[in-house]
Amino acid sequence: MTSRVRPARPISPIAAAVLILGIWWLVAHNSGDGWVQALGDLVFGTLLVGIIGPAVFLRRARLEVINLPLDCVAGRVVDMQLRASTRVRVRPVAPAGAEGYIGPGRAGAPTGSLSLCPEYRGVYTHLVLDVATAAPFALQWWSRRVRVALPIALYVRPRTGAPDVTALAPREGAGDGADRPELNAGYPRGARPYRPGDTQRQVHWRATAHANELMVRESELPAAEPYVIALRLPADPDGAERMAERAQGTIALLLDRGDAVVLETDEEHGRVIAAVESARVAGRRLARAVAPGGVPAGASGPGVAP
């Protein structure tokens, strides 16, 4: 997605340069002095480098992300470190962020910090940036849109929305009312091998050590059954974002209560049903979630990291 290098508002500098050189030409050819022409040649060279040179600098500029967090939340600022071979002005496009300058500074460090504020959840494997420079003479700005690969995928989880209390309401006749016991309540019946959805609290460490595999306690009561949250995101990005936020809030509430949660989402490669043990895992799952048959939300291109 690297676009062509293009000048930013070039009419004024070019018109001024043409005017200066035209006047210079007139002076040279009316004074008849070789020095005027020689000096005009130097001025021409300076203006040419000042106006065209940034395009060359920009084409040769190399930009890479060298440090970034693993996760962040939509709508919150996240900082990442970038390195550039020459000093450039960078404006994040996807995800959006604040404009900054990256590249060799007075101290000599070629790195700089860029603040992003992704509006939507998603998994970002690339940044889309508008890179601009006016080097070496600040006479004309040139810019291009580039896609910079991230060294690791950036998971932007949705905001933590209001929990969906209706989903948590006790269902009549289902036998798991409001007085539902905790996961480890009831009489222990024994131990069994770990299955996805089991929480850390259920791990029976002694049995694990004995069996040389992860074992969990098994109770007689059916209270350990996890909440299953089946998420079907709409195709509308905003609607999907709101739904994901509610799901995030609901899962956070459940996890805070100590409940087990199994999340069912549609991802790029198909449906995924798996337990979530923490809000971070839930956020990552929700970041990857897509509408059935849809494209990843907020992803800046193919190659969504597993």
Binding site: N30, F44, A134
Partner: protein
């Protein structure tokens, strides 16, 4: 957006400029431009130093008040600029010197504007304006510069200007730093662009519609008006022919006098006498001689008549000349002592001169009433008749010489029997005047030798006979005199002309540099309809006006020819080999593993899967295989990683097979059949 809105937007206050380095750089740039003008006497040094001090103070003041400039400072700047403009227009309209009178007021205007403006430069754009205005000041200075010393100021100004511009970028980019490679790239680009334009552009020409500056320089009073005088340093000395033991004048040339004694030869120096800005190279003629006595040339034309006019002085058409042809403007900058002859290209029609009158003879010789010393400037507009050889061969009718004049230009002191026989034999196959002249020039070139060190002319001997039938060694005076005499013996009107050759062309200053040893004598031959035409049997005149680029290339080539080829070639060859070796070491051939990995990445990019920095080759190969619906890349990636990290290196034949398989995979379309039959690396 309306024009008013655009103007309002353009005049919106910009953020204050915080960079002190940028202000220092701009101050240096502007100061250099002011100093340049002072060095060219466009402003006095006192004024320049005062302006520099005020600019420094102004810059400091505007830095202090950059955040909130006081309102009165804008009024002060506007008032100062208006006053400077009023002064400029007043000076221009009252000077009466036309365009030439603009330069000094323009310098004053620009210096004043720069000084006043320096008190209100809060933003980066204002500083850029100051740099641009200093460029205007440099242009005004360049219009006055005629020597290479100006180049030092140009270099200094360019250095400060580039520093200023780079500081502007560093300031605009929030305090960055230009790398050395970036600076070198920019400088190389600038030099290449400037050099390219320099080599391509023709030399600047002067328009005849302007009035030209005329200046007497450090000359003096001529004791006898209209008489030929000595050099400018001794204006009281009347010109006279030199003597073998006497002092030499005017750089050593003895011909700019009432007589040209071919038996004498002064020691010509390398002293710069004049510089000429002209549209084409010419022989700068000073005077002509028509009477030959076997040893010396003298002029029998009536005494020069005064022509009184204000510049431009319209000169009468010389006898035998045709005022038809293109105009050729020449401005002469007198640098050293010279005669009071007004040198010019044939034939002069207008003269911008620092005196209200000049003396003009019938043969076109123009004599100054004042001594022209160092710093003198005058301009001549000549009408150059430049017929082609074919036109000269068929020249007939039209203008004819008066009988008396024709007799004067055929005069010989004695019959010159041998010279006539020689000329008749050499020109036996020529049927027209032009071919006869060319045949004689060719014969002289083939049978005589040029030397400044000739034996003394025996007493009573004839210069021409001695040269043609004696030692056949001589310099311009003997050579041209012999040609003139042979032409006259054939009945062709001819005369001797003295002056300067065009001199060396300086492509930077666009000036012909005339030194004392460029003094020369040549022949003028009269052709019906075309008048007097110059022929030089001694040297060859450049046929066209040289372009600066061609001359610079010629100079570079000449300089390169001076370089000893063997050691230089050896050094260049060794350096090239070292550079190629270093390059080869840096770009060693890719290993088989690198080639396989590159093929995988190219195949991945082709299906829209660029490799992530975090992906191992095996992970990446799996993703690519999944996208392509095949499994060809994964085993290749395993083999590469096994070799790179596991130390299990395949044999050479296996390596070749894997590279080939990777190349085939890369070119295979998605969902195509992948090579699975034989995998020797597994």
């Amino acid at each position: 957006m309306s024009v008013v809105e655009a103007i309002r937007r353009a005049n919106q206050p910009r953020p204050p400029e915080e960079s002190v380095r940028l202000r220092v750089a701009c101050t240096c740039t502007v100061g250099t431009a002011v100093a340049t003008c002072a060095s060219l006497d466009e402003v006095s040094w006192t004024t320049a130093l005062g302006a520099l001090a005020l600019i420094v103070v102004g810059m400091a003041f505007s830095y202090r008040t950059r955040v909130r400039p006081p309102g009165w400072i804008k009024l002060l700047v506007a008032g100062g600029a208006i006053a400077a403009c009023v002064f400029f227009f007043h000076s221009v309209t009252t000077s009466g010197q036309g365009v030439t009178g603009v330069e000094d007021p323009l310098t004053a205007l620009l210096v004043t504007v720069l000084v006043v403006h320096s008190f209100h430069v809060p933003a980066r754009r204002d500083l850029l304006f100051a740099v641009a205005a200093s460029a205007g000041l440099m242009a005004v200075g360049a219009a006055q510069a005629i020597d290479l010393g100006f180049g030092l100021y140009v270099i200094a100004w360019m250095c400060f200007g580039i520093w200023s511009l780079m500081e502007m970028w560093l300031s605009a980019s929030g305090g960055g730093r230009m790398s050395i490679a970036g600076i070198i790239t920019a400088l190389v680009g600038m030099t290449a662009a400037a050099g390219g334009v320099f080599f391509v552009l023709p030399a600047p020409a002067v328009a005849v519609r302007f009035d030209f500056l005329a200046h007497a320089g450090a000359g003096g009073v001529i004791p006898v008006p209209g008489a030929l005088a000595g050099d400018g340093s001794e204006p009281g000395q009347l010109a006279k022919a030199g003597t073998p033991g006497g002092p030499t004048r005017i750089g050593g040339y003895l011909g700019f006098a009432k007589a040209l004694d071919t038996a004498l030869r002064g020691s010509l120096s390398q002293q710069l006498v004049m510089m000429v800005r002209a549209q084409r190279p010419s022989y700068w003629v000073g005077e002509t001689f028509d009477h030959w006595n076997g040893r010396s040339w003298t002029s029998t034309t009536p005494a020069a008549r005064p022509v009184r006019q204000s510049s431009p002085i319209v000169l009468p058409v010389p006898e035998g000349n045709v005022p038809l042809g293109p105009s050729d403007l020449q401005t002469f900058y007198v640098l050293g002592s010279t005669a009071d002859l007004v040198f010019h290209a044939e034939s002069a029609s207008q003269l911008w001169f620092p005196a209200p009158k000049v003396y003009v003879a019938d043969d076109g010789t123009v004599v100054s009433p004042i001594g022209l010393g160092k710093g003198a400037i005058y301009t001549v507009n000549s009408v150059v008749s430049a017929p082609t050889p074919d036109e000269l061969r068929h020249a007939a009718g039209g203008l004819s010489l008066p009988v008396a004049s024709e007799a004067a230009y055929l005069q010989l002191p004695h019959p010159y029997t041998r010279a006539h026989a020689l000329a008749a034999r050499v020109t036996s196959k020529a049927h027209d005047t032009y071919d006869k002249v060319e045949a004689l020039i060719a014969w002289i070139g083939a049978h005589t030798s040029y030397s400044l060190d000739i034996p003394p002319l025996p007493a009573g001997a004839d210069t021409v006979n001695e040269f043609l039938f004696g030692n056949r060694v001589g310099f311009c005076e003997q050579i041209s005199t012999s040609l003139t005499v042979m032409l006259r013996s054939l009945g062709i009107p001819a005369r001797e002309a003295v002056g300067y050759v065009p001199g060396s062309y300086n492509p930077v200053t666009d000036l012909y540099q005339i030194r004392a040893d460029d003094a020369h004598a040549w022949v003028q031959v009269w052709f019906p309809h075309f008048g007097w035409q110059s022929f030089d049997p001694t040297a060859v005149v450049a046929p066209e006006n040289p372009s600066p680029g061609i001359v610079a290339l010629h100079d570079i080539g000449h300089a390169l020819r001076q370089v000893p080829p063997l050691p230089t070639g050896t050094a260049v060859g060794a350096a090239t080999l070292v550079a190629l070796g270093l390059r080869w070491r840096r770009r060693r051939p890719a290993t088989w593993a690198e080639r396989v990995a590159r093929s995988a990445e190219r195949a991945g990019r082709r299906v829209g899967l660029p490799r992530l920095p975090s992906q191992t080759l095996i992970e990446y190969a799996a993703v690519v295989d999944a996208r392509r619906g095949a499994s060809g890349w994964t085993p290749l990636a395993r083999a590469v990683e096994a070799s790179a990290y596991g130390g299990r290196h395949p044999s050479l034949s296996q390596q070749r097979q894997m590279v080939t398989a990777a190349r085939r995979l890369r070119h295979r379309r998605s969902h195509g059949r992948l090579p699975t039959a034989r995998r020797p690396w597994e």
